[in-house]
């Protein structure tokens, strides 16, 4: 798909669920280099407005991403009491809008620097770490039997995956080699029963209001594996957006997160296990940054933003070395 979605086609998709009306104020939301996100209002016959979001694959399809899995997963999460946007409709080929789905637009902020700095969220911030713990516990408690087919990805498989990716890029990163050795020596025992892992559970994927977290977004990297991965990823330094001393998303502390996680039924997490997953998450983000730079360098998507991510890899190398040295 290129260009804006056809408002009339979009109106037909929404009307099938909520009755006749028209699409207004269609605009692309910033962010989301890998997915297109469009916001629009739907005005029904009586003049009432409701906000929606269209999330779809951009351009030519790259990889084997599957919006229908994400759509189903959000429905399962909603049924389990996880705060997510209500999904309205999965796009069908005959809709002519590409691959994606329509969901409710939830008002609030997703931009991490605003969440961490704006006065509007001053009262919410001290509560966010505990909310993350509660939400994560709820996600991890979802019965695997209720899930759509998801890839299995445990710690050892991820280490192998990132080592292979690093070799594919052919760029030497001695810090990552030190990290891979360190991680391989510390692989935690896999959970007795693999659980749902959100896969991108971090500041930037939460809709936050003055009352706290209203919804968890971006379920496209969900898999089954070790749920502590989500907690480690949440604490990766890149997701603290400059508030480095608040280990959890730049807004809270590890004890707050873990106490709430346990209190809501999550398992007890020791520091060494969390450190392993923060380390693996840091390496993962570094490898993703290399990949994004090569998406540009290989000509797949030319973008100054993707190009400069190649030079942010050094930040993740620095962070990883800190973790190896016992820091956070």
């Amino acid at each position: 798909m290129s260009g804006a979605p056809d408002p009339e086609a979009l109106a037909r998709v929404v009307a099938a669920t909520v009755g006749d009306g028209s699409v207004v104020d269609l605009r692309r939301l910033s962010g989301g280099a890998s997915r297109e996100t469009w916001s629009f209002d739907f005005v029904d016959a009586g003049g009432a407005r409701r906000g929606f979001v269209l999330r779809r694959d951009p351009g030519e399809h790259v990889g084997d991403s599957d919006r229908s899995t994400e759509y189903q997963l959000i429905r399962v999460a909603a049924a389990a009491g996880v705060a997510v946007p209500r999904v309205l409709a999965l796009l069908r080929p005959e809709d002519g809008l590409g691959r994606g789905f329509v969901m409710d637009r939830i008002e609030g902020e997703t931009i991490p620097r605003r969440i961490l700095r704006d006065d509007a969220y001053a009262e919410a911030r001290p509560r966010l770490a505990a909310q993350c713990g509660e939400i994560a516990a709820r996600i991890h408690a979802i019965a695997p039997s209720s899930l759509p087919a998801l890839p299995g990805l445990d710690a050892a498989a991820q280490i192998d995956q990132y080592r292979t990716l690093i070799d594919t890029f052919g760029e030497p990163h001695p810090a990552f080699e030190l990290g891979l050795r360190w991680l391989a020596e510390r692989v935690p025992p896999p959970p007795a029963r693999p659980e749902l892992v959100h896969g991108d559970f971090r500041n930037g994927n939460f809709i936050v209001g003055p009352d706290g977290i209203r919804a968890v977004l971006d379920w496209e990297l969900a898999h089954v594996g070790d749920p502590i991965e989500d907690l480690g990823w949440l604490c990766v330094k890149s997701w603290r957006f400059g508030v480095a001393d608040r280990l959890v998303g730049g807004f809270g502390s590890v004890p707050e997160l873990l106490a709430a996680y346990e209190g809501a039924g999550g398992r007890t997490v020791d520091e060494a296990t969390l450190r392993f997953w923060v380390g693996l998450g840091t390496l993962k983000w570094g490898v993703i940054c290399i990949g994004q730079a090569f998406t540009h360098l290989n000509g797949l998507v030319r973008s100054v933003e993707l190009a400069t991510l190649g030079r942010r890899v050094a930040e993740t190398e620095w962070d990883l070395l800190q973790i190896l040295d016992g820091g956070w």
Binding site: P172, H173, T308, R311, A314, E317, W318, L321
Partner: protein, 127 residues
């Protein structure tokens, strides 16, 4: 051939200042965001042009000292040395001097950040 002033770094700076001033003021949303990204990229180039050569020489010297006789023929190429170092860390052949390797790698990453994003580094205690 020596080029006339402005030097490459001065020319990059001129472009950066133009983007930072006129273009930022005249744009919004995605274009303004990408302008900020471009400004940052030009800042990297300026630093690479000015402090880069000295950093590469220091890195090469340190890497050669650690790799010692394990290197063959690419003493002059910092990238080749990094490739050799990465391979040696992976295959375990430097395990008898891992502390020195870690110190070197930390110093090298620090040098990369001096170009890519100096603000990311904690204040240098020796400075």
């Amino acid at each position: 051939m020596t080029q006339d002033r402005p030097t490459a770094a001065e020319l990059v700076r001129a472009v950066r200042e133009f983007l930072e001033g006129d273009v930022m003021a005249a744009t919004e949303g995605r274009v303004q965001f990408h302008t900020r990204v471009a400004v940052n990229a030009l800042g990297m180039i300026e630093r690479e042009l000015t402090v880069g050569p000295g950093l590469v020489a220091a890195e090469r010297e340190r890497a050669a000292a650690i790799l010692g006789p394990d290197i063959s023929g690419h003493e002059d190429d910092a990238r080749e040395l990094e490739i050799a170092l990465a391979a040696a860390i992976r295959n375990g052949s430097l395990d008898d001097r891992l502390d020195a390797v870690r110190d070197h790698v930390r110093a090298t990453v620090r040098e990369k950040l001096l170009v890519a994003n100096p603000g990311y580094l904690p204040p240098d205690p020796s400075a």
